[in-house]
Protein backbone atom coordinates (compact mmCIF):
# COMPACT_ATOMS: atom_id res chain seq x y z
CA UNK A 1 0.00 0.00 0.00
CA UNK A 2 1.21 3.50 -0.71
CA UNK A 3 0.04 7.00 0.09
CA UNK A 4 -0.82 8.88 3.21
CA UNK A 5 -1.79 5.90 5.29
CA UNK A 6 1.10 3.59 4.53
CA UNK A 7 1.81 1.43 7.55
CA UNK A 8 -1.76 1.43 8.83
CA UNK A 9 -3.02 -1.67 10.63
CA UNK A 10 -5.69 -2.56 8.08
CA UNK A 11 -7.34 -5.92 8.62
CA UNK A 12 -6.49 -7.61 11.89
CA UNK A 13 -6.38 -5.35 14.96
CA UNK A 14 -3.26 -4.95 17.08
CA UNK A 15 -3.78 -5.52 20.76
CA UNK A 16 -3.26 -2.67 23.21
CA UNK A 17 -3.33 -2.66 27.01
CA UNK A 18 -5.39 -0.11 28.89
CA UNK A 19 -2.98 1.47 31.37
CA UNK A 20 -5.22 3.99 33.00
CA UNK A 21 -8.82 5.20 32.87
CA UNK A 22 -10.01 8.69 33.77
CA UNK A 23 -13.54 9.95 34.12
CA UNK A 24 -13.97 13.10 32.08
CA UNK A 25 -17.63 14.07 32.25
CA UNK A 26 -20.77 12.05 32.66
CA UNK A 27 -20.61 8.97 30.43
CA UNK A 28 -17.28 10.00 28.91
CA UNK A 29 -14.02 8.34 29.90
CA UNK A 30 -10.48 8.62 28.68
CA UNK A 31 -8.58 5.38 28.15
CA UNK A 32 -4.79 5.56 28.12
CA UNK A 33 -3.29 2.66 26.22
CA UNK A 34 -0.07 1.18 24.96
CA UNK A 35 0.41 -1.38 22.21
CA UNK A 36 1.36 -4.85 23.39
CA UNK A 37 3.69 -5.33 20.46
CA UNK A 38 6.57 -2.81 20.46
CA UNK A 39 6.82 -3.09 16.67
CA UNK A 40 3.24 -1.90 16.34
CA UNK A 41 3.88 0.94 18.76
CA UNK A 42 6.82 2.13 16.69
CA UNK A 43 4.98 1.74 13.39
CA UNK A 44 1.85 3.56 14.56
CA UNK A 45 2.15 7.12 13.21
CA UNK A 46 -1.04 9.10 13.35
CA UNK A 47 -1.71 12.58 12.08
CA UNK A 48 -3.99 14.94 13.91
CA UNK A 49 -7.59 14.50 12.75
CA UNK A 50 -7.29 10.81 11.95
CA UNK A 51 -9.20 8.02 13.68
CA UNK A 52 -8.91 4.33 14.54
CA UNK A 53 -11.32 1.41 14.63
CA UNK A 54 -11.36 0.13 18.21
CA UNK A 55 -12.30 -3.48 19.00
CA UNK A 56 -13.74 -4.18 22.40
CA UNK A 57 -13.13 -7.91 22.52
CA UNK A 58 -16.36 -9.85 22.60
CA UNK A 59 -18.49 -6.81 21.78
CA UNK A 60 -17.43 -5.37 18.41
CA UNK A 61 -15.72 -2.44 16.79
CA UNK A 62 -16.37 1.31 16.55
CA UNK A 63 -14.73 4.39 15.08
CA UNK A 64 -12.96 6.77 17.46
CA UNK A 65 -10.82 9.87 17.07
CA UNK A 66 -7.21 10.10 18.11
CA UNK A 67 -7.21 13.08 20.47
CA UNK A 68 -3.55 12.92 21.41
CA UNK A 69 -0.70 14.62 19.67
CA UNK A 70 1.67 11.89 18.49
CA UNK A 71 4.67 14.04 19.42
CA UNK A 72 4.12 14.79 23.06
CA UNK A 73 1.06 13.12 24.54
CA UNK A 74 0.35 9.73 26.02
CA UNK A 75 -1.79 7.71 23.58
CA UNK A 76 -5.42 7.73 24.62
CA UNK A 77 -9.03 7.67 23.42
CA UNK A 78 -11.95 9.59 24.91
CA UNK A 79 -15.23 7.79 24.48
CA UNK A 80 -18.85 8.52 25.27
CA UNK A 81 -20.93 5.54 26.22
CA UNK A 82 -23.86 5.50 23.81
CA UNK A 83 -24.51 1.91 22.79
CA UNK A 84 -23.44 -1.69 22.75
CA UNK A 85 -19.73 -1.49 22.07
CA UNK A 86 -18.96 1.76 23.88
CA UNK A 87 -20.82 0.45 26.94
CA UNK A 88 -18.65 -2.68 26.88
CA UNK A 89 -15.57 -0.45 26.67
CA UNK A 90 -16.69 1.48 29.74
CA UNK A 91 -16.86 -1.80 31.66
CA UNK A 92 -13.16 -2.45 31.13
CA UNK A 93 -10.57 -1.79 33.83
CA UNK A 94 -6.85 -1.02 33.69
CA UNK A 95 -4.99 -4.11 32.51
CA UNK A 96 -7.76 -5.13 30.14
CA UNK A 97 -7.04 -5.26 26.44
CA UNK A 98 -8.54 -3.74 23.33
CA UNK A 99 -7.74 -4.04 19.61
CA UNK A 100 -6.92 -1.16 17.29
CA UNK A 101 -6.87 -0.81 13.50
CA UNK A 102 -5.70 2.30 11.79
CA UNK A 103 -4.86 5.14 11.70
CA UNK A 104 -7.34 5.96 8.96
CA UNK A 105 -8.59 9.11 7.27
CA UNK A 106 -7.04 12.25 5.90
CA UNK A 107 -6.29 14.35 9.00
CA UNK A 108 -6.01 18.13 9.35
CA UNK A 109 -3.84 20.04 6.92
CA UNK A 110 -1.12 21.69 8.99
CA UNK A 111 1.29 22.81 6.33
CA UNK A 112 -1.24 25.04 4.60
CA UNK A 113 -2.38 26.77 7.79
CA UNK A 114 1.04 27.89 8.99
CA UNK A 115 1.18 31.59 9.73
CA UNK A 116 -2.59 31.94 10.09
CA UNK A 117 -5.00 32.75 12.88
CA UNK A 118 -6.71 29.60 14.10
CA UNK A 119 -10.19 29.45 15.56
CA UNK A 120 -11.57 26.34 17.20
CA UNK A 121 -15.30 26.08 17.77
CA UNK A 122 -16.42 22.97 19.66
CA UNK A 123 -19.69 21.73 21.06
CA UNK A 124 -19.77 19.04 23.76
CA UNK A 125 -17.53 16.09 22.98
CA UNK A 126 -16.74 17.74 19.64
CA UNK A 127 -13.64 18.93 21.47
CA UNK A 128 -12.23 15.37 21.34
CA UNK A 129 -11.23 15.32 17.66
CA UNK A 130 -9.94 18.92 17.90
CA UNK A 131 -7.73 18.26 20.90
CA UNK A 132 -4.70 16.93 19.03
CA UNK A 133 -4.80 19.87 16.69
CA UNK A 134 -4.89 22.34 19.58
CA UNK A 135 -1.94 20.63 21.24
CA UNK A 136 -0.01 20.78 17.99
CA UNK A 137 -0.76 24.42 17.32
CA UNK A 138 0.11 25.50 20.87
CA UNK A 139 3.30 23.50 20.64
CA UNK A 140 4.26 25.52 17.58
CA UNK A 141 2.85 28.77 18.93
CA UNK A 142 5.30 30.94 16.98
CA UNK A 143 4.00 29.56 13.65
CA UNK A 144 0.50 30.93 14.15
CA UNK A 145 -1.35 34.19 14.67
CA UNK A 146 -4.21 34.43 17.15
CA UNK A 147 -5.41 31.12 18.57
CA UNK A 148 -8.97 31.12 19.81
CA UNK A 149 -11.04 28.37 21.41
CA UNK A 150 -14.79 28.83 21.57
CA UNK A 151 -16.34 26.02 23.51
CA UNK A 152 -19.86 25.30 24.67
CA UNK A 153 -21.68 22.46 26.39
CA UNK A 154 -25.00 21.70 28.07
CA UNK A 155 -23.72 22.50 31.56
CA UNK A 156 -20.48 23.32 33.31
CA UNK A 157 -20.28 19.68 34.33
CA UNK A 158 -20.02 18.72 30.70
CA UNK A 159 -17.02 20.71 29.58
CA UNK A 160 -14.38 18.23 28.45
CA UNK A 161 -10.66 18.32 29.28
CA UNK A 162 -11.05 21.19 31.77
CA UNK A 163 -7.71 20.65 33.52
CA UNK A 164 -6.01 20.51 30.19
CA UNK A 165 -7.61 23.73 29.03
CA UNK A 166 -6.52 25.48 32.23
CA UNK A 167 -2.93 24.48 31.42
CA UNK A 168 -3.24 25.58 27.79
CA UNK A 169 -4.44 28.98 28.95
CA UNK A 170 -0.96 29.62 30.30
CA UNK A 171 0.29 29.67 26.71
CA UNK A 172 0.65 33.23 25.64
CA UNK A 173 -2.11 34.52 23.42
CA UNK A 174 -4.40 31.52 23.73
CA UNK A 175 -7.88 33.04 23.95
CA UNK A 176 -10.77 31.03 25.33
CA UNK A 177 -14.51 31.59 25.42
CA UNK A 178 -16.84 29.23 27.26
CA UNK A 179 -20.59 29.02 27.35
CA UNK A 180 -23.24 26.69 28.75
CA UNK A 181 -26.76 26.18 27.45
CA UNK A 182 -28.73 27.13 30.59
CA UNK A 183 -27.97 29.34 33.61
CA UNK A 184 -26.67 27.54 36.66
CA UNK A 185 -25.70 28.63 40.18
CA UNK A 186 -22.07 29.64 40.42
CA UNK A 187 -21.58 30.09 36.67
CA UNK A 188 -20.55 33.63 35.87
CA UNK A 189 -19.67 33.16 32.22
CA UNK A 190 -21.95 33.56 29.23
CA UNK A 191 -25.06 31.44 28.80
CA UNK A 192 -26.41 30.35 25.41
CA UNK A 193 -25.54 28.14 22.49
CA UNK A 194 -21.98 28.16 21.30
CA UNK A 195 -22.59 30.04 18.06
CA UNK A 196 -23.59 33.13 20.10
CA UNK A 197 -19.93 33.53 21.11
CA UNK A 198 -18.59 33.87 17.61
CA UNK A 199 -19.54 37.54 17.31
CA UNK A 200 -18.34 38.57 20.82
CA UNK A 201 -15.00 36.85 20.19
CA UNK A 202 -14.46 39.32 17.32
CA UNK A 203 -12.78 36.66 15.29
CA UNK A 204 -10.22 37.88 12.77
CA UNK A 205 -11.24 37.45 9.16
CA UNK A 206 -8.11 37.84 7.11
CA UNK A 207 -5.67 34.98 7.06
CA UNK A 208 -7.81 32.85 9.33
CA UNK A 209 -8.88 29.22 9.46
CA UNK A 210 -11.68 27.80 11.60
CA UNK A 211 -12.09 24.23 12.86
CA UNK A 212 -15.64 23.34 13.83
CA UNK A 213 -16.74 20.16 15.53
CA UNK A 214 -19.92 19.23 17.36
CA UNK A 215 -23.45 17.89 16.92
CA UNK A 216 -25.11 18.58 13.55
CA UNK A 217 -27.45 21.30 14.85
CA UNK A 218 -24.63 23.24 16.45
CA UNK A 219 -22.58 22.82 13.32
CA UNK A 220 -25.13 24.58 11.13
CA UNK A 221 -25.58 27.61 13.35
CA UNK A 222 -21.84 28.01 13.93
CA UNK A 223 -21.15 27.93 10.21
CA UNK A 224 -23.75 30.63 9.70
CA UNK A 225 -22.03 32.88 12.27
CA UNK A 226 -18.57 32.27 10.86
CA UNK A 227 -19.73 33.09 7.35
CA UNK A 228 -21.49 36.20 8.67
CA UNK A 229 -18.24 37.23 10.30
CA UNK A 230 -16.62 37.02 6.87
CA UNK A 231 -14.68 33.77 7.01
CA UNK A 232 -14.51 31.99 3.69
CA UNK A 233 -16.03 28.59 2.86
CA UNK A 234 -12.70 27.03 2.13
CA UNK A 235 -11.18 28.27 5.40
CA UNK A 236 -13.73 26.46 7.55
CA UNK A 237 -12.94 22.85 8.37
CA UNK A 238 -14.89 20.22 10.16
CA UNK A 239 -14.63 16.53 10.95
CA UNK A 240 -17.74 14.66 9.88
CA UNK A 241 -19.07 11.57 11.57
CA UNK A 242 -20.81 8.55 10.16
CA UNK A 243 -21.61 5.11 11.40
CA UNK A 244 -18.55 3.16 10.26
CA UNK A 245 -17.92 -0.53 9.81
CA UNK A 246 -14.80 -1.14 7.74
CA UNK A 247 -12.85 2.13 7.97
CA UNK A 248 -11.14 1.45 4.63
CA UNK A 249 -13.65 2.54 2.00
CA UNK A 250 -15.37 -0.76 1.27
CA UNK A 251 -18.57 -1.21 3.30
CA UNK A 252 -20.08 2.11 2.16
CA UNK A 253 -21.80 2.84 5.46
CA UNK A 254 -20.06 6.19 5.71
CA UNK A 255 -20.86 7.39 2.17
CA UNK A 256 -22.02 10.99 1.80
CA UNK A 257 -22.76 11.80 -1.78
CA UNK A 258 -19.83 10.59 -3.75
CA UNK A 259 -17.33 10.72 -0.93
CA UNK A 260 -16.55 8.28 1.86
CA UNK A 261 -15.95 9.81 5.27
CA UNK A 262 -13.48 7.07 6.27
CA UNK A 263 -11.08 7.60 3.39
CA UNK A 264 -11.88 11.01 1.85
CA UNK A 265 -12.55 12.51 5.32
CA UNK A 266 -13.22 12.76 8.16
CA UNK A 267 -11.88 16.31 7.67
CA UNK A 268 -13.75 18.36 5.07
CA UNK A 269 -13.81 22.05 4.29
CA UNK A 270 -17.18 23.75 4.34
CA UNK A 271 -16.69 24.41 0.66
CA UNK A 272 -16.60 20.66 0.07
CA UNK A 273 -19.45 19.96 2.46
CA UNK A 274 -21.71 22.27 0.50
CA UNK A 275 -21.25 20.16 -2.61
CA UNK A 276 -21.84 16.77 -0.99
CA UNK A 277 -25.53 16.87 -1.81
CA UNK A 278 -26.65 15.20 1.41
CA UNK A 279 -27.51 16.27 4.92
CA UNK A 280 -24.76 16.49 7.49
Amino acid sequence: MSGANAGAIVTVPETAVIDEIRDEIEDVRTFYFSFENPEAARAFRARSGQFVMCTVYGAGEFAVSLPFSPEDDRPHLSVRQVGKVTRALHELRPGDKIGLRGPFGNGFPFESIKGKNVIYVAGGIGLIPLRSSIVHVLQHRQDFGRIILIYGSKSSQELMYRDMIEKWKATEGFETYFTIDRPEPGWTGPVGFVHTLVAPAKVPVENTVAFVCGPPLMFNSVIKELLAAGIKDEAIMSTLERHMKCGIGKCQHCAIGRTLVCTDGPVYTYKQIKTLGEQI
Binding site: V12, T15, K250, R258, E278, Q279
Partner: protein, 355 residues
Protein backbone atom coordinates in the same frame (compact mmCIF):
# COMPACT_ATOMS: atom_id res chain seq x y z
CA UNK B 1 -9.62 -20.46 -31.32
CA UNK B 2 -10.68 -24.10 -30.94
CA UNK B 3 -13.76 -26.19 -31.65
CA UNK B 4 -15.37 -28.13 -28.83
CA UNK B 5 -18.38 -30.36 -29.49
CA UNK B 6 -21.21 -29.48 -27.11
CA UNK B 7 -21.12 -33.07 -25.89
CA UNK B 8 -17.67 -32.34 -24.45
CA UNK B 9 -18.91 -29.67 -22.04
CA UNK B 10 -19.20 -32.24 -19.27
CA UNK B 11 -15.59 -33.30 -19.80
CA UNK B 12 -14.54 -29.66 -19.51
CA UNK B 13 -16.34 -29.30 -16.19
CA UNK B 14 -14.96 -32.62 -14.98
CA UNK B 15 -11.41 -31.60 -15.84
CA UNK B 16 -11.76 -28.39 -13.85
CA UNK B 17 -13.37 -30.23 -10.94
CA UNK B 18 -10.07 -32.02 -10.37
CA UNK B 19 -8.34 -28.80 -9.33
CA UNK B 20 -11.16 -26.49 -8.32
CA UNK B 21 -14.45 -26.33 -6.46
CA UNK B 22 -16.97 -26.21 -9.25
CA UNK B 23 -19.67 -23.53 -9.57
CA UNK B 24 -22.14 -23.00 -12.37
CA UNK B 25 -25.74 -22.68 -13.50
CA UNK B 26 -27.93 -25.53 -12.30
CA UNK B 27 -31.64 -26.23 -12.48
CA UNK B 28 -33.43 -26.68 -9.17
CA UNK B 29 -34.73 -30.20 -9.01
CA UNK B 30 -38.24 -29.39 -7.80
CA UNK B 31 -38.98 -26.27 -9.80
CA UNK B 32 -36.55 -26.19 -12.68
CA UNK B 33 -35.45 -22.66 -11.71
CA UNK B 34 -31.98 -21.69 -12.89
CA UNK B 35 -29.61 -20.89 -10.02
CA UNK B 36 -25.90 -20.25 -9.85
CA UNK B 37 -24.51 -22.63 -7.28
CA UNK B 38 -21.74 -24.90 -6.06
CA UNK B 39 -21.94 -28.31 -7.74
CA UNK B 40 -20.43 -31.62 -6.70
CA UNK B 41 -21.26 -33.44 -9.93
CA UNK B 42 -19.87 -31.84 -13.11
CA UNK B 43 -22.87 -33.24 -15.00
CA UNK B 44 -25.19 -30.96 -13.01
CA UNK B 45 -23.95 -27.83 -14.80
CA UNK B 46 -26.46 -26.65 -17.42
CA UNK B 47 -24.76 -24.38 -19.89
CA UNK B 48 -28.01 -23.91 -21.78
CA UNK B 49 -29.93 -22.73 -18.70
CA UNK B 50 -31.44 -19.25 -18.69
CA UNK B 51 -29.66 -16.50 -16.77
CA UNK B 52 -29.70 -17.66 -13.12
CA UNK B 53 -31.93 -15.90 -10.57
CA UNK B 54 -28.88 -15.15 -8.45
CA UNK B 55 -25.59 -13.70 -9.66
CA UNK B 56 -22.25 -15.42 -8.95
CA UNK B 57 -21.44 -12.68 -6.44
CA UNK B 58 -21.64 -14.97 -3.41
CA UNK B 59 -18.69 -16.98 -4.72
CA UNK B 60 -16.38 -14.05 -4.04
CA UNK B 61 -18.47 -12.18 -1.50
CA UNK B 62 -20.49 -14.70 0.54
CA UNK B 63 -23.78 -13.56 2.00
CA UNK B 64 -22.33 -14.15 5.46
CA UNK B 65 -18.68 -14.85 6.00
CA UNK B 66 -16.34 -15.20 8.96
CA UNK B 67 -13.41 -12.88 8.35
CA UNK B 68 -11.64 -13.36 11.64
CA UNK B 69 -12.08 -15.03 14.97
CA UNK B 70 -10.55 -14.40 18.36
CA UNK B 71 -10.61 -15.40 21.98
CA UNK B 72 -10.21 -12.96 24.80
CA UNK B 73 -9.58 -14.40 28.21
CA UNK B 74 -10.34 -11.53 30.55
CA UNK B 75 -8.99 -13.37 33.62
CA UNK B 76 -5.63 -14.19 32.06
CA UNK B 77 -5.63 -11.01 29.90
CA UNK B 78 -4.69 -12.90 26.79
CA UNK B 79 -5.91 -12.40 23.26
CA UNK B 80 -5.50 -14.90 20.45
CA UNK B 81 -6.49 -13.71 17.00
CA UNK B 82 -7.00 -15.87 14.00
CA UNK B 83 -7.36 -14.68 10.47
CA UNK B 84 -9.42 -17.14 8.45
CA UNK B 85 -7.80 -18.72 5.45
CA UNK B 86 -10.37 -21.23 4.30
CA UNK B 87 -10.50 -20.15 0.71
CA UNK B 88 -10.24 -22.90 -1.90
CA UNK B 89 -9.61 -22.59 -5.64
CA UNK B 90 -12.85 -22.16 -7.56
CA UNK B 91 -13.95 -22.65 -11.15
CA UNK B 92 -16.93 -20.70 -12.47
CA UNK B 93 -18.26 -22.55 -15.49
CA UNK B 94 -21.00 -21.06 -17.63
CA UNK B 95 -20.93 -17.46 -16.46
CA UNK B 96 -22.80 -15.02 -18.69
CA UNK B 97 -21.00 -11.91 -19.93
CA UNK B 98 -23.08 -9.58 -17.78
CA UNK B 99 -22.14 -11.51 -14.65
CA UNK B 100 -18.48 -11.64 -15.59
CA UNK B 101 -18.61 -7.87 -15.97
CA UNK B 102 -20.27 -7.74 -12.57
CA UNK B 103 -17.25 -9.53 -11.13
CA UNK B 104 -14.92 -7.09 -12.87
CA UNK B 105 -16.86 -4.19 -11.31
CA UNK B 106 -16.37 -5.79 -7.90
CA UNK B 107 -12.67 -6.29 -8.68
CA UNK B 108 -12.18 -2.64 -9.51
CA UNK B 109 -13.92 -1.63 -6.33
CA UNK B 110 -12.57 -4.12 -3.79
CA UNK B 111 -9.05 -4.39 -5.18
CA UNK B 112 -8.63 -0.77 -6.19
CA UNK B 113 -8.68 2.55 -4.33
CA UNK B 114 -6.46 3.18 -1.36
CA UNK B 115 -6.94 -0.16 0.39
CA UNK B 116 -7.33 -3.69 -0.91
CA UNK B 117 -10.12 -5.81 0.54
CA UNK B 118 -8.06 -8.79 1.60
CA UNK B 119 -11.00 -11.14 2.09
CA UNK B 120 -12.32 -10.53 -1.38
CA UNK B 121 -8.83 -10.88 -2.80
CA UNK B 122 -8.45 -14.30 -1.18
CA UNK B 123 -11.60 -15.55 -2.88
CA UNK B 124 -10.69 -14.04 -6.20
CA UNK B 125 -7.08 -15.16 -6.28
CA UNK B 126 -7.34 -18.78 -7.37
CA UNK B 127 -10.14 -18.80 -9.87
CA UNK B 128 -10.85 -20.24 -13.30
CA UNK B 129 -13.56 -18.57 -15.37
CA UNK B 130 -15.42 -20.10 -18.31
CA UNK B 131 -17.79 -17.55 -19.80
CA UNK B 132 -20.74 -18.61 -21.95
CA UNK B 133 -21.50 -15.91 -24.51
CA UNK B 134 -25.19 -15.36 -25.19
CA UNK B 135 -26.25 -16.34 -28.68
CA UNK B 136 -29.69 -14.99 -27.86
CA UNK B 137 -30.82 -12.68 -25.06
CA UNK B 138 -33.37 -13.48 -22.37
CA UNK B 139 -36.47 -11.29 -21.99
CA UNK B 140 -35.07 -9.34 -19.00
CA UNK B 141 -31.69 -8.46 -20.53
CA UNK B 142 -30.28 -5.06 -21.47
CA UNK B 143 -26.51 -5.64 -21.46
CA UNK B 144 -26.22 -3.96 -24.85
CA UNK B 145 -27.22 -0.69 -23.15
CA UNK B 146 -24.60 -1.07 -20.42
CA UNK B 147 -21.81 -2.28 -22.68
CA UNK B 148 -21.39 -5.55 -20.80
CA UNK B 149 -22.71 -8.22 -23.17
CA UNK B 150 -23.86 -10.35 -24.86
CA UNK B 151 -20.23 -11.43 -25.43
CA UNK B 152 -17.38 -11.03 -22.95
CA UNK B 153 -14.29 -9.10 -23.98
CA UNK B 154 -11.91 -9.62 -21.07
CA UNK B 155 -11.41 -11.27 -17.73
CA UNK B 156 -12.02 -14.91 -18.69
CA UNK B 157 -9.81 -17.97 -19.03
CA UNK B 158 -12.13 -19.55 -21.57
CA UNK B 159 -15.00 -18.06 -23.60
CA UNK B 160 -17.53 -20.37 -25.26
CA UNK B 161 -19.81 -19.30 -28.09
CA UNK B 162 -22.48 -21.75 -29.25
CA UNK B 163 -22.26 -22.60 -32.94
CA UNK B 164 -24.73 -25.36 -33.86
CA UNK B 165 -23.58 -28.60 -32.26
CA UNK B 166 -20.25 -27.06 -31.27
CA UNK B 167 -18.82 -24.36 -29.10
CA UNK B 168 -16.20 -21.99 -30.39
CA UNK B 169 -13.61 -22.17 -27.61
CA UNK B 170 -11.38 -19.12 -27.03
CA UNK B 171 -8.58 -19.18 -24.51
CA UNK B 172 -8.20 -15.88 -22.69
CA UNK B 173 -5.19 -16.93 -20.61
CA UNK B 174 -2.36 -19.39 -20.34
CA UNK B 175 -4.57 -21.52 -18.07
CA UNK B 176 -7.24 -21.55 -20.78
CA UNK B 177 -4.73 -22.68 -23.41
CA UNK B 178 -3.60 -25.49 -21.16
CA UNK B 179 -7.18 -26.64 -20.72
CA UNK B 180 -7.69 -26.72 -24.52
CA UNK B 181 -4.63 -28.92 -24.86
CA UNK B 182 -5.73 -31.14 -22.02
CA UNK B 183 -9.13 -31.65 -23.65
CA UNK B 184 -7.43 -32.37 -27.00
CA UNK B 185 -9.47 -29.72 -28.84
CA UNK B 186 -9.13 -29.09 -32.58
CA UNK B 187 -7.99 -25.69 -33.89
CA UNK B 188 -10.97 -23.84 -35.33
CA UNK B 189 -9.25 -22.55 -38.45
CA UNK B 190 -9.05 -19.05 -39.94
CA UNK B 191 -12.78 -18.44 -40.49
CA UNK B 192 -13.71 -18.87 -36.83
CA UNK B 193 -13.32 -15.28 -35.64
CA UNK B 194 -15.59 -14.06 -38.39
CA UNK B 195 -18.13 -16.74 -37.54
CA UNK B 196 -18.13 -15.72 -33.92
CA UNK B 197 -18.62 -12.07 -34.82
CA UNK B 198 -21.64 -13.00 -36.95
CA UNK B 199 -23.17 -15.06 -34.15
CA UNK B 200 -22.79 -12.19 -31.67
CA UNK B 201 -24.13 -9.64 -34.15
CA UNK B 202 -27.16 -11.84 -34.66
CA UNK B 203 -27.61 -12.02 -30.90
CA UNK B 204 -27.51 -8.24 -30.61
CA UNK B 205 -30.00 -7.93 -33.45
CA UNK B 206 -32.46 -10.05 -31.43
CA UNK B 207 -32.59 -7.70 -28.44
CA UNK B 208 -35.26 -5.52 -29.95
CA UNK B 209 -37.70 -8.35 -30.55
CA UNK B 210 -36.80 -10.73 -27.72
CA UNK B 211 -35.38 -8.75 -24.77
CA UNK B 212 -38.68 -7.00 -24.30
CA UNK B 213 -39.03 -6.76 -20.52
CA UNK B 214 -36.56 -3.95 -20.09
CA UNK B 215 -35.11 -1.17 -22.05
CA UNK B 216 -32.52 1.09 -20.57
CA UNK B 217 -30.97 3.91 -22.54
CA UNK B 218 -28.37 4.36 -19.93
CA UNK B 219 -25.67 6.64 -21.27
CA UNK B 220 -27.88 9.70 -21.71
CA UNK B 221 -29.46 9.20 -18.32
CA UNK B 222 -26.06 8.82 -16.67
CA UNK B 223 -25.00 12.09 -18.10
CA UNK B 224 -28.12 13.83 -16.83
CA UNK B 225 -27.94 12.32 -13.36
CA UNK B 226 -24.28 13.21 -13.03
CA UNK B 227 -24.87 16.80 -14.04
CA UNK B 228 -27.70 17.15 -11.50
CA UNK B 229 -30.38 17.58 -14.12
CA UNK B 230 -32.95 15.34 -12.42
CA UNK B 231 -35.34 17.27 -10.21
CA UNK B 232 -36.20 16.27 -6.69
CA UNK B 233 -39.82 15.44 -7.56
CA UNK B 234 -38.65 12.62 -9.75
CA UNK B 235 -36.45 11.18 -7.03
CA UNK B 236 -39.32 11.53 -4.58
CA UNK B 237 -41.69 9.80 -6.99
CA UNK B 238 -39.22 6.95 -7.38
CA UNK B 239 -38.42 6.80 -3.66
CA UNK B 240 -42.09 6.63 -2.70
CA UNK B 241 -42.36 3.32 -4.50
CA UNK B 242 -39.58 1.62 -2.53
CA UNK B 243 -40.52 -0.97 0.12
CA UNK B 244 -37.00 -1.06 1.57
CA UNK B 245 -36.84 -4.80 1.11
CA UNK B 246 -33.21 -4.85 -0.02
CA UNK B 247 -33.91 -7.41 -2.73
CA UNK B 248 -32.39 -5.29 -5.50
CA UNK B 249 -29.06 -5.11 -3.68
CA UNK B 250 -28.99 -8.80 -2.95
CA UNK B 251 -29.60 -9.98 -6.52
CA UNK B 252 -27.33 -7.38 -8.08
CA UNK B 253 -24.00 -8.70 -9.37
CA UNK B 254 -22.31 -5.37 -8.57
CA UNK B 255 -23.80 -4.32 -5.21
CA UNK B 256 -21.10 -4.63 -2.58
CA UNK B 257 -22.24 -3.00 0.69
CA UNK B 258 -21.69 -5.00 3.85
CA UNK B 259 -22.10 -4.96 7.59
CA UNK B 260 -19.65 -6.27 10.21
CA UNK B 261 -20.61 -7.75 13.57
CA UNK B 262 -18.75 -9.66 16.27
CA UNK B 263 -20.68 -12.75 17.33
CA UNK B 264 -19.89 -14.68 20.49
CA UNK B 265 -20.04 -18.45 20.44
CA UNK B 266 -20.74 -20.67 23.39
CA UNK B 267 -17.17 -21.96 23.39
CA UNK B 268 -15.86 -18.51 24.23
CA UNK B 269 -14.73 -17.70 20.72
CA UNK B 270 -15.89 -14.57 18.91
CA UNK B 271 -16.44 -14.64 15.18
CA UNK B 272 -16.16 -11.43 13.22
CA UNK B 273 -18.79 -11.85 10.52
CA UNK B 274 -19.43 -9.75 7.51
CA UNK B 275 -22.72 -9.97 5.69
CA UNK B 276 -24.59 -8.32 2.85
CA UNK B 277 -26.27 -5.03 3.61
CA UNK B 278 -28.37 -2.62 1.57
CA UNK B 279 -28.27 1.16 1.38
CA UNK B 280 -32.06 1.12 1.07
CA UNK B 281 -32.54 0.21 4.74
CA UNK B 282 -33.34 3.10 7.03
CA UNK B 283 -30.91 1.95 9.73
CA UNK B 284 -28.04 1.93 7.29
CA UNK B 285 -26.89 5.44 8.22
CA UNK B 286 -28.52 5.90 11.62
CA UNK B 287 -26.35 7.58 14.24
CA UNK B 288 -26.57 8.57 17.90
CA UNK B 289 -29.29 10.89 19.16
CA UNK B 290 -31.81 9.82 16.51
CA UNK B 291 -29.70 11.61 13.94
CA UNK B 292 -30.05 10.08 10.52
CA UNK B 293 -28.48 12.10 7.75
CA UNK B 294 -30.24 10.02 5.11
CA UNK B 295 -33.71 9.69 6.53
CA UNK B 296 -36.09 10.30 3.61
CA UNK B 297 -36.64 7.17 1.60
CA UNK B 298 -35.87 8.95 -1.65
CA UNK B 299 -32.41 9.80 -0.33
CA UNK B 300 -31.70 6.16 0.23
CA UNK B 301 -33.10 5.16 -3.14
CA UNK B 302 -31.05 7.86 -4.78
CA UNK B 303 -27.96 6.40 -3.27
CA UNK B 304 -28.37 3.15 -5.18
CA UNK B 305 -29.19 4.79 -8.48
CA UNK B 306 -26.38 7.29 -8.13
CA UNK B 307 -24.05 4.46 -7.24
CA UNK B 308 -25.02 2.51 -10.36
CA UNK B 309 -25.40 5.40 -12.76
CA UNK B 310 -23.13 8.11 -11.51
CA UNK B 311 -20.81 7.85 -8.54
CA UNK B 312 -18.79 4.80 -7.95
CA UNK B 313 -18.31 3.28 -11.34
CA UNK B 314 -18.90 5.90 -13.95
CA UNK B 315 -16.92 8.71 -12.33
CA UNK B 316 -13.89 6.56 -11.81
CA UNK B 317 -14.10 3.98 -14.57
CA UNK B 318 -16.27 5.61 -17.22
CA UNK B 319 -18.79 2.80 -17.24
CA UNK B 320 -22.06 2.26 -15.38
CA UNK B 321 -22.14 0.17 -12.21
CA UNK B 322 -25.04 -1.72 -13.77
CA UNK B 323 -24.34 -4.61 -16.11
CA UNK B 324 -27.81 -4.96 -17.53
CA UNK B 325 -28.79 -8.34 -16.10
CA UNK B 326 -32.33 -7.17 -15.35
CA UNK B 327 -32.53 -8.98 -12.01
CA UNK B 328 -33.52 -5.97 -9.91
CA UNK B 329 -36.47 -5.34 -12.17
CA UNK B 330 -37.64 -8.90 -11.65
CA UNK B 331 -37.49 -8.86 -7.85
CA UNK B 332 -38.57 -5.30 -7.06
CA UNK B 333 -42.06 -5.16 -5.55
CA UNK B 334 -42.11 -1.39 -6.13
CA UNK B 335 -41.40 -1.59 -9.84
CA UNK B 336 -38.27 0.50 -9.60
CA UNK B 337 -35.62 -1.79 -10.98
CA UNK B 338 -32.85 0.10 -12.66
CA UNK B 339 -34.31 -0.21 -16.15
CA UNK B 340 -37.60 1.33 -15.03
CA UNK B 341 -35.85 4.13 -13.22
CA UNK B 342 -33.88 4.91 -16.32
CA UNK B 343 -37.13 4.90 -18.28
CA UNK B 344 -38.80 7.31 -15.83
CA UNK B 345 -35.88 9.66 -16.02
CA UNK B 346 -35.63 9.40 -19.75
CA UNK B 347 -39.29 10.32 -20.06
CA UNK B 348 -38.58 13.42 -17.97
CA UNK B 349 -35.66 14.34 -20.19
CA UNK B 350 -37.86 14.01 -23.24
CA UNK B 351 -40.59 16.12 -21.64
CA UNK B 352 -38.11 18.82 -20.67
CA UNK B 353 -36.71 18.75 -24.17
CA UNK B 354 -40.17 19.22 -25.66
CA UNK B 355 -40.82 22.35 -23.58
Amino acid sequence: MYIMPKSQARALAAALAEDYDLHGPVLREESGEPMFDRVEDPAAIRLEAAIPYNPPKSVVFPQAERIMSYRYDREAKTVSLERDDLVRPKALVGLRACDLNGLLCLDRFYLGQEYVDEFYRDHRKKMFIVVNNCVRPFPQCFCVCTDSGPAAREGYDVALTGDGDDYLFEAGSEKGQALARRLGLKEAGPGAAGRKAKIIDASIARFDAEATENKAWISRVMNRITTGFISNDIWEFIGDQCFECGACSFVCPTCSCFNIEDINSREGRTDRMRSWDSCSYEGYTRMAGEHNPRRPVEDRRNKRFFCKLSYSQSRKYLRPGCVGCGRCNRVCPGDIGIANVVTYIRREITKAGAK
